[in-house]
């Protein structure tokens, strides 16, 4: 069974050939290229990976991702982005998925009522055309919902039960103003001690098309690797979703310095030590291969 890293990012220096947005964390001269990733994968026996677009959502911003997917069609699949408020998201998605290796798109908002007590008509959600298109064209939806959007998800999922959904980073829904970067250049998301997600995203386990990737522990934990304070979250997700709907991921490159790629290949064994060999193999790659339809090596 392949070992698949189900969520990470690669990028190159900003250039005319590969335009991208820049920030303090990914300035124009920084690069975390696919070759560096392949070195880490080789060292730690990881066979395949999901490359998730970052640093811009325009078609041009996706050029480096598209090049990586073209160069290594058996090693990677891609997840793209759609610019917020794009006038024609369906066309944008179609262009990016035309035999490119991009299999889906990442979103954090759904454009529905902020108040869960409001009348919900899913056809009026701004994201409705995107989900409809995903259903028609078999895209995967890669979701990292903002906290104020979490309650909208089951309405969309009920409307489109055929869409494959992957909740990102332990099904956390970051709160507004709770995001920062730490001294190792890693995202940090401040979360409450009480796990609120068991009342929102964990409840989506009922829907068989919803999956979760187990990653980003460093961003939520108050401890060093192996982030034992998050063992309960992992057990909760395993209990709800089962071992067939969870996928391990590293969130490369943010973790390269601390704790390092190699350590993260063991994080599932550390946090879910009672998994059977078969369950561990599923989470470490079997599920990603089946759900995301990775090519055979």
């Amino acid at each position: 069974m392949p070992r698949i890293d189900a969520h990470l990012h690669v990028f190159t220096k900003a250039s005319a050939e590969f335009p991208r947005e820049i920030s303090d964390v990914w300035p124009a001269e920084r690069e975390e290229p696919v070759e560096k990733l392949l070195d880490e994968m080789e060292k730690h026996q990881i066979d395949q990976a999901v490359l998730v677009q970052m640093a811009g959502a325009s078609i041009e911003n996706h050029r480096y991702l598209l090049q990586c997917l073209k160069a290594y069609p058996n090693r990677f699949v891609g997840i793209g982005l759609v610019p917020e408020g794009h006038p024609n998201p369906v066309e944008h998605m179609a262009e990016l998925t035309d035999n490119t290796g991009i299999i889906g798109f990442r979103f954090s908002t759904f454009g529905g009522p902020r108040d869960i007590f409001a009348k919900m008509d899913v056809r009026e959600f701004a994201a409705y055309p995107i989900w409809k298109c995903a259903a028609e064209r078999d895209y995967v939806l890669w979701l990292y919902p903002n906290a104020i959007n979490a309650h909208l998800l089951p309405y969309l999922i009920e409307a489109f039960p055929q869409v494959r959904i992957v909740l990102n980073h332990l099904a956390v829904c970051p709160g507004a103003g709770k995001f920062s970067w730490d001294e190792f250049g890693r995202p940090q998301v401040q979360v409450t001690g009480y796990n609120l997600f068991m009342h929102t995203t964990y409840r989506l386990a009922r829907f068989e098309n919803v999956n979760v990737h187990l990653s980003g522990q460093y961003a939520f934990s108050k401890e060093e690797f192996p982030y034992k304070d998050l063992a309960g979250w992992h057990h909760g997700l395993l209990g709800g979703f089962g071992a067939k709907r969870l996928m391990w991921a590293t969130d490369f490159p943010w973790i390269l310095e601390e704790p390092g790629y190699g350590k993260l290949t063991t994080v599932i064994e550390e946090l879910l030590p009672n998994l059977s060999e078969a369950e561990l193999a599923d989470i470490m790659g079997g599920n990603a291969k089946r759900i995301l339809r990775f090519p055979d090596l």
């Binding site: 869960i116 709160g175 609120l196 409840r203 709800g240």
Partner: protein, 238 residues
């Protein structure tokens, strides 16, 4: 004080729950409904801001510090229709842990799955859920597995769907109904597929253990706790 009948005691021991229909009625029920609606409305905007900030769950909300907001929320803590049973079951050594004055939104999925609150080694832990509005079947009514409070029962596992829980019973009811249950037992809020939020109050009690609740916890309402019984219930003297 209305003490439980032998039949009620038997049901409590064997099944782990009791239902008090019309536990609160008439003017008291109206006072409770008015206070609930007023404060739920007043607190909603702040709750939504907390949801947005990631500090509160999106699927339900509780009125913060309800005991300080209206005396009716204090009066229901030792309300005669169920207080006698609480006292009897705890050998007249009862303390309040806290109230949850809770509004649960209609949602395709219940906000919680089947669970017990405490282990069998916990001091007797009792909840009383009071319906503030009528709770019809399929609108977030309480569910409980009779007998699951007993050590040696089960094992129980959480099913994907609420209605798939083995041996469960659901408790729709009219406003003013109170359901008392042993919190070792597996329980849940059923799915609410209606258009109506479920309004209820969950009172949490325990058999007293030293230091469980400090005297400062309810000091702000001490003016409403002049009798020795209330002072003991609210742990005001430590």
């Amino acid at each position: 004080m209305i003490l439980p009948t032998p039949e009620e005691k038997r049901q409590w021991e064997e099944e782990g729950y009791l239902v008090f229909e019309n536990a609160i009625q008439g003017e008291d029920l109206k006072r409770l409904q008015n206070a609930f609606d007023h404060w739920a409305d007043a607190c909603k905007a702040e709750w939504l801001d907390r949801v947005e900030a990631g500090d509160a769950a999106a699927t339900f909300y509780d009125i913060p510090n309800p005991l300080e907001k209206d005396p009716i929320f204090i009066d229901i803590i030792d309300y005669p229709s169920y207080y006698g049973a609480l006292m009897d079951f705890t050998d007249h050594d009862l303390i309040l842990l806290g109230p949850q004055v809770r509004t649960v939104a209609p949602w395709p999925v219940s906000y919680t799955g089947w669970h017990p609150d405490v282990g069998y080694d916990n001091p007797l832990h009792i909840k009383v859920q009071i319906y503030v509005n009528d709770v019809e079947p399929g609108s977030g009514e309480f569910g409980f597995v009779p007998g699951s409070h007993k050590p040696g029962s089960g094992p129980y596992t959480r099913p994907m769907r609420q209605e798939s829980m083995t041996g469960h019973k659901t408790f729709p009811g009219k406003a003013g109904t109170a359901i008392m249950f042993n919190s070792c037992g597996w329980h849940v809020s059923m799915d609410n597929h209606s258009d109506t939020p479920r309004k209820s109050i969950i009172l949490i009690y325990e058999k007293r253990t030293p230091g469980r609740i400090g005297p400062k916890q309810y000091a702000s309402i001490s003016e409403y706790c002049q009798t020795p019984e209330r002072r003991k219930l609210f742990s005001l003297d430590g």
